[in-house]
């Protein structure tokens, strides 16, 4: 993750910062490092970023806040961000940091804030042979919300383990087919063995928080029973884990929502012995679709859908690419700041040295010049680092959307699998009808009727009726999923546009703001050395 580097970097610079601090403090008396520089961006009248920023306090005040570079966690408030959802002083690491979404995704008064914290070890209490007395980690999940769905203004918290999250994700996938459901964090078995336990737990905590926040950002899913139960009900999670091993193993298997059981319940999800048969039929169908030569995997009649799917795929590729380049950019900015700081330090040492050893006035003059240069370099280095932590915050949007693109894929996959079910049933139907025809033809040739054949025909006709029902249900399901797909993709497109716009704006505003600050630092240094201005170059 792009953001995590800053924390390490903060440690590395701890000792060099002491030197910088000592140096800059001496210099405070005659320099105003952050004279409010007019920003030409149209910011809202009520928030003057420079005066509100904790980092632009005047010299006399708490100079420490200026000197210490902000760690990624502290930077919630960007001095240059035009974000209307500024959460002022909420400084703690686990405070609400939602995606800087535009107003389109949140009405001003509604809110739901989730925090995941305090992991702790617990003992397996069940006597099940599967778990065998091991330990697991639970996380405290605290919710603060005023959504009417959750009963007005309320706060509550529960403890959940990772397995519960998997269950939640699975149930949502079943109930909300066709929706763009944010993907849950990986199980990552390998990592848990390779990493230090603490690191892994922390990484997982962060991932869980992100996941849950994304879930409740979804206008439909946030009000789902599954999510409500997950967030509110204390104790054991009252959601059944999908015991559907077969269907979980074979993607593209039919998973009909519970609601359909009530409606003429003809079609049960492909489970157990009989269902494995259906599973294999569907597999065969999809394979025959696949290898039909000219036929696509699932015969999709909707041109628009195919186009949309391709477009989404392209978009995903470009987001991946842009996200990678963004990471490289962030690294480069970081390195620039670091090297600039090291240069400044080297000149600080030189200044001290020349002053200590000075025999001639020319040395003292040089020491003074070096001091001006060093001061500028150290300040510029600070600005580069601040700029970078802001840049990370904005360009992270690209990274976030990778996850969301996966959600879109999931939604499209739901549609394809529903279509596959329909097609399977259709072909079953036609083969059954074919058999019935044959039997009838054969039976009519026998004089007086063919008792065994007639019985068979009856059976087949019964199966045909059932399959017909199933087909109708499947078609309804398919149509429903198509609807969900469409509205979700619309919503996502809108939100993505808004989020990208906000990202671009934030990125650019920061670049402008910090470039101006850096420019003023160097302009001052140039003025201080203006006696060396030789116009010959």
């Amino acid at each position: 993750m792009m953001g995590s580097e800053n924390d390490d970097e903060a440690h590395l610079h701890a000792s060099t910062e002491d030197m910088e601090n000592l140096f800059l403090r001496d210099d405070k008396s005659n320099s105003d490092p952050l004279s409010p520089h007019p920003i030409t961006v149209a910011t809202p009248a009520d928030s003057d970023p420079l005066s509100a920023s904790p980092q632009s306090k005047p010299n006399g005040g708490d100079s420490r806040s200026y000197i210490e570079p902000p760690s990624y966690a502290d930077v919630i408030f960007s001095p240059f961000d035009d974000n209307s959802e500024i959460n002022g002083s909420d400084d703690t690491h686990s405070s609400d940091y939602s995606l800087s979404r535009s107003p389109s995704s949140s009405v001003s008064s509604d809110y739901i804030k989730i925090t995941v914290s305090s992991p702790q070890k617990e003992q397996e209490t069940s006597t099940s042979m599967l778990s065998g007395g091991g330990t697991y980690i639970t996380y405290l999940i605290a919710t603060r919300t005023n959504l009417p769905d959750y009963g007005g203004g309320s706060e509550f918290s529960v403890r959940r383990r990772f397995r519960d999250v998997v269950t939640l994700a699975d149930r949502l996938a079943e109930s909300y087919r066709g929706f763009c459901i944010p993907p849950r964090p990986d199980k990552s078995v390998v990592e848990s063995q390779v990493m230090q336990k603490q690191e892994f737990v922390e990484q997982r905590r962060v991932a869980l928080e992100k996941y849950l926040r994304r879930l409740v950002a979804h206008p439909v899913i946030r009000s789902s029973d599954e999510v409500k139960v997950f967030l509110r009900v204390e104790g054991k999670l009252p959601l059944q884990a999908s015991a559907d091993v077969a269907s979980r193993m074979l993607d593209g298997a039919v998973k009909l929502p519970r609601q359909l059981f009530g409606e003429g319940g003809g079609v049960e999800p492909a489970r157990g012995g009989r269902d494995l048969l259906r599973l294999f039929k569907e597999l065969r169908q999809s394979v025959s679709n696949d290898w039909g030569g000219s036929k696509p995997a699932v015969v999709e009649e909707d041109r628009d859908f195919v186009e949309k799917k391709e477009k989404m795929h392209d978009l995903e590729q470009q987001i991946i690419n842009a996200s990678q380049q963004a990471e490289t950019l962030v690294k480069a900015q970081q390195e620039m700041g670091a090297t600039m700081g090291e240069l400044g330090l080297a000149f600080i040492k030189l200044t001290k040295f020349e002053n200590e050893e000075a025999v001639f006035n020319s040395q003292r003059a040089r020491a003074n010049d070096m001091k001006n240069l060093a001061t500028a370099a150290v300040k510029a280095s600070r600005f580069y680092r601040e700029l970078n932590s802001q840049t990370v915050k904005h360009l992270d949007t690209l990274h976030d959307y990778l996850g969301l693109m996966m959600a879109v894929q999931g939604a499209f996959a739901d549609r394809s699998s529903a279509l596959l079910t329909v097609q399977t049933l259709l072909s079953e139907l036609s083969s059954l009808e074919g058999r019935a025809e044959k039997l009838e033809a054969a039976s009519s040739k026998v004089f007086g009727g063919d008792k065994s054949r007639i019985k068979k025909i009856e059976e087949i006709k019964e199966t045909i009726r059932n399959t017909e029902n199933a087909k109708n249900v499947a078609i309804k399901e398919y149509e429903r999923i198509k609807e969900n797909n469409w509205s979700e993709v619309e919503r996502l497109d809108r939100e993505r546009r808004a989020d990208f716009l906000s990202m671009m704006k934030g990125f650019v505003v920061n670049q402008v703001g910090y470039a101006e600050k850096i420019a003023s630092v160097w302009t001052k240094a140039a003025e201080e050395t203006s006696q060396y201005d030789r116009e010959s170059s």
């Binding site: 490289t328 090297t339 240069l343 402008v512 203006s530």
Partner: protein, 401 residues
């Protein structure tokens, strides 16, 4: 507030000053690659402008190569002990790099500075070797250059010196003087310590300056790649996002170009002067070594002279017939000892003057370098701010829509 040396230099440098004022200036230009394969090298045009009578006319152009500059430096170092002879850029270690445009230009600039510093140094500018360097035709120059290499070119005096060195080492052993003879006045100690420490500090600053050049280039490259990626992303999106991404990408590429340009400036106007400073300090270290040698000689010859004197007195007392010989030896040794002392003292005097010059020169040159660096960084940052700022109106408009 110019120092007297600066004023002198300016007068010397300017060909436009009235012809009554003596001037001498040179420029090193037009690097050209000559020869093939392993023997390929770069040649430079050296243009001399002067009104000094010792020179052949107001303007002279000669062709020189790097080893000719090395020859000049070695000669000056040899003849003007105690003077901080201006440093030369290094011989390139890496074959590949030797003919890159950047390296060639950096070297040319450094050689230009080298010659001009010599031409404006009160003692060095009068050197005959300088005149040879600036005026001799290429064949003559080549001959001179070949003469200086190898043991075959040692003059008789040098052999005598080597012999005497061995002698004095023997007498040291005989007399039980194992300790190296070293000058130890507090001021000189301070100076030596200063020079050695300074080299370390400067080397570190130069290292970071060089890295900073790389960082500029890396940041520039990453912005270029980012710009391209963002443009491709924009192509997937509808309006207005698509166009905005495209504009963002274009700006990113623009900013990238500014960074590459500034990287070059930082290299030539900031990192190179720092490197030059380091070289200068190394040259001073070489002079310090020369002074130590001269001091040692002066001490040892004084000792030897004393011994000869004692010996002579002894012989005179015993009225030996070896007195005449001994007297001659004694006088010769005394003369040499006096010469050695004079040489040593001249070095000391020169060094005292040179140090003042050096400090003033460096303050001036560094000041210029710092100023240019600060100006360049300010210009870069302002350029970057302007470039990005141009996008804001459109972004604002799209946000409020």
């Amino acid at each position: 507030m110019e120092s007297s040396t600066e004023q002198a230099r300016n007068v010397m440098q300017s060909p436009r000053s009235p012809s009554s004022q003596p001037y001498l200036s040179a420029s090193v230009t037009d690097p050209v690659k000559l020869g093939n394969g392993v023997q390929a090298y770069i040649s430079y045009r050296v243009i001399t402008k002067t009104n000094l009578p010792e020179y052949q006319g107001p303007e002279k152009i000669v062709i020189r190569r790097y080893s000719d500059f090395v020859w000049l430096r070695d000669r000056l170092f040899d003849k003007y002990k105690g003077v901080f002879v201006p440093p030369l850029p290094e011989k390139s270690a890496v074959e590949k790099f030797r003919f890159s445009a950047e390296f060639i230009e950096m070297r040319r600039a450094a050689l230009d500075i080298f010659v001009n510093r010599i031409a404006s140094h009160p003692e060095l500018k009068q050197s005959e070797d300088l005149r040879t360097f600036l005026q001799a035709d290429e064949e003559t120059m080549e001959r001179f250059r070949f003469q200086e290499t190898g043991i075959f070119n040692k003059k008789p005096a040098d052999f005598m010196q080597m012999f005497r060195d061995v002698q004095s080492k023997v007498s040291d052993a005989v007399l039980g003087k194992e300790k190296p003879v070293e000058e130890t006045t507090p001021e000189y100690e301070k100076l030596k310590h200063y020079i050695f420490e300074l080299e370390n500090h400067l080397a570190e600053a130069q290292k970071h300056a060089y890295r900073l050049v790389k960082r500029h280039r890396e940041l520039g490259q990453s912005l270029l790649d980012f710009g391209k990626a963002v443009k491709l992303l924009g192509a997937c999106e509808g309006e207005p996002t698509g166009k905005l991404f495209s504009d963002l990408g274009t700006k990113s590429e623009l900013v990238s170009i500014k960074l590459q340009k500034e990287a070059q400036q930082v290299l030539m106007n900031f990192e190179e002067p720092l490197k030059d400073y380091v070289r200068y300090v190394q040259s001073i270290k070489a002079t310090i070594a020369e002074r130590a040698t001269a001091f040692k000689q002066h001490c040892e010859l004084a000792e030897t002279t004393k011994l000869k004197e004692i010996n002579l007195d002894k012989l005179m007392l015993t009225r030996s017939d070896k007195v005449g010989e001994a007297e001659i030896e004694y006088r010769e040794m005394k003369a040499e000892s006096e010469e050695a002392t004079i040489r040593f003292e001249r070095i000391v005097k020169r060094m005292n003057e040179e140090i003042v010059r050096f400090q003033e020169q460096k303050t001036e040159e560094m000041g210029v370098a710092f100023h240019q660096f600060a100006k360049g960084q300010a210009r870069l940052a302002n350029g970057i701010a302007d470039a990005w700022r141009a996008l804001l109106p459109k972004l604002e408009a799209a946000s409020s829509a």
